[in-house]
Symmetry: C2
Subunit: 333 residues, 2 copies
């Protein structure tokens, strides 16, 4: 009997230990973040603004967090994924446009010469975007995006683009929401390019997505109302446009903002200057092995030395993908 | 002892009866609505889209309801309240603008001649709006609105404007939210004129307010970032603009939409045409005694015969303020 009791006790202890370990793991809301300054800053900030007794307490309704998308929530190399979408659309539409074989920037694009196509600068870029993003209804465009995002593969990893999202940021989004935050995307990317998939992938519903846009027009087609996408820019949600977009869509100032490039500086300034406890973070792509390493010299996702210096001066936290992230993508071991 | 017991029993029964009556009242989510077709349509619709077993079930995330503001959630006579705000601002700013005494539309306005001021048509109107709504930061404008809305009184009722909201619509907003709906304002009114008070008055947070807007510009003032309101129209959220604004801000189609005038027709069309169980309603101002009676002939909140005919044809429910509403304003007995 004694032996049996001891065995039972050992068994109980073992179960208890497993239980404690499980609870401890379950209690870490950010398991893909290494212990370090970045993780500490996040947890400390959330505790400061959510504990009722804290002098920095923020009511739930005002807990607004804004996230850039390209390079902050998902990858952006070798070029913004939306541009790869546009290239695929040019190829898909080419049979209906035999004139493109002679007309730039399409002729170069169709020969696979992206650099040649972009020699036309901003005007060439705009022409590619407008040709592929306008001229259909919003419902038709949504379906085109859904079909593409469900099947197109990244040229380097062979993965779906929606698999190339950052696991630590998914955990951060969930952690903030579990603490009463409303999470928004504020991206230079096209608002209607993101909305068809952000709810499923990030848990961010369409009404919490802010982005660049072209104009739309309400009209009747066969007795049914539609919104037609016009080849006319409406809004560029980048740099100084980000605070404008935040004000227009959200109408409150964020208390936390996350970006990775020069396009995000004004969003971080705007967040910080509202006063009170604020969290501003920049993702630094410094992991050539597991992702990409780029910064000041890159045309995609430029993180200039000036912004790095500003981050240091302002106390914005720079996240090192290499050191702060245990895992980059959900498919990483 | 027996008598005492009986008394206790009677006491208990009385308490129980009060309790039952209270629960019955508490269970009617729309106590200011008379029993009738409008109330029936609302309750039947909510049950259709929220009961899991219903073939018309709509997941909570897609339960979007949009409300016009002027004439739908609050009154709009003798003229849109935002215009009365602009008039008060002209008076407040006049001492800094001696030139207005000679300059239309301000000269007429300052003499109390609104009709004369508006003789200049749309251009005069635009000048009044731009002069009073632009040229300051968004934070400054918010404060101006807050100060005005907290003190200004309606010329006829002597009430605060935020008291002149419709009690039945407040109940409807709460009822929809209790059933998992997200409620939005989609108004021709200025987005930044509404946001400072809609959360407190309607329970609708700033990020769920869609409205007309002027452009803003991000800049540094004394080392602090601000958004300056520019005298340049950005977006008119009326008529065909309403579906455009809904698409831009919400990115989903409403399943219920509430308006009161020709400016709301396209919002109702857009809601209905998305298919499935949908609820479209128009508030008809037919109660000269308790509010105002106006419609086709009114310049403010025009409800044309054509829209009335369309409502009938499409099965949109027309709410008679006179017959469907037990109480109009919260201050009514």
């Amino acid at each position: 009997m004694k032996a049996h009791s001891n065995l039972s006790l050992l068994g109980f202890a073992a179960v208890a230990l497993v239980f404690v370990a499980t609870v401890a793991r379950a209690q870490d809301p950010l398991p893909s973040w290494n212990e370090g300054l970045a993780k500490k800053a996040i947890v400390a900030f959330v505790e400061r603004v959510t504990k009722t007794a804290s002098p920095d307490f923020v009511p739930p309704a005002e807990r607004i967090a804004t996230f850039d998308n390209d390079g902050t929530l998902w990858a952006e190399q070798p070029i913004y994924f939306q541009f790869l979408f546009a290239l695929d659309r040019v190829k898909a539409l080419a049979p209906q446009h035999p004139e493109w074989n002679e007309k730039e920037p399409f002729a170069s694009l169709l020969k696979g010469d992206v650099k040649g196509a972009l020699a036309g600068g901003e005007r060439a870029m705009l022409e590619i975007v407008m040709t592929t993003h306008a001229g259909m209804t919003t419902a038709e465009f949504e379906q085109i995006v859904k079909d593409w995002i469900a099947t197109a593969k990244h040229p380097k990893t062979g993965r779906l683009y929606t698999e190339m999202v950052y696991q630590p940021m998914l955990e951060l989004l969930a952690y903030l929401r579990a603490n009463g935050f409303k999470t928004f995307i504020v991206s230079g990317g096209g608002i209607e390019f993101m909305r068809p998939w952000t709810e499923k992938v990030y848990g961010i519903p369409p009404e919490q997505v802010v982005g660049s846009s072209i104009k739309t027009k309400y009209e009747m087609q066969g007795g049914k109302p539609v919104l037609v996408r016009l080849p006319e820019l409406n809004f560029i949600d980048d740099k100084t446009g980000k605070p404008v977009g935040i004000n227009s869509h959200i109408g409150r100032r964020p208390i936390a903002a996350f970006g990775n490039s020069d396009g995000d500086q004004q969003m971080l300034e705007w967040t910080q200057a509202s006063g009170g406890a604020r969290l501003m973070m920049l993702v630094h792509h410094d992991d050539a092995e597991r992702e990409w390493a780029y910064g000041a010299e890159s045309k995609i996702g430029t993180l200039s030395d000036a912004l790095m210096a500003e981050a240091k001066k302002q106390g914005w936290v720079v996240i090192s993908m290499k050191n702060d992230w245990k895992r980059i993508f959900p498919f990483d071991k």
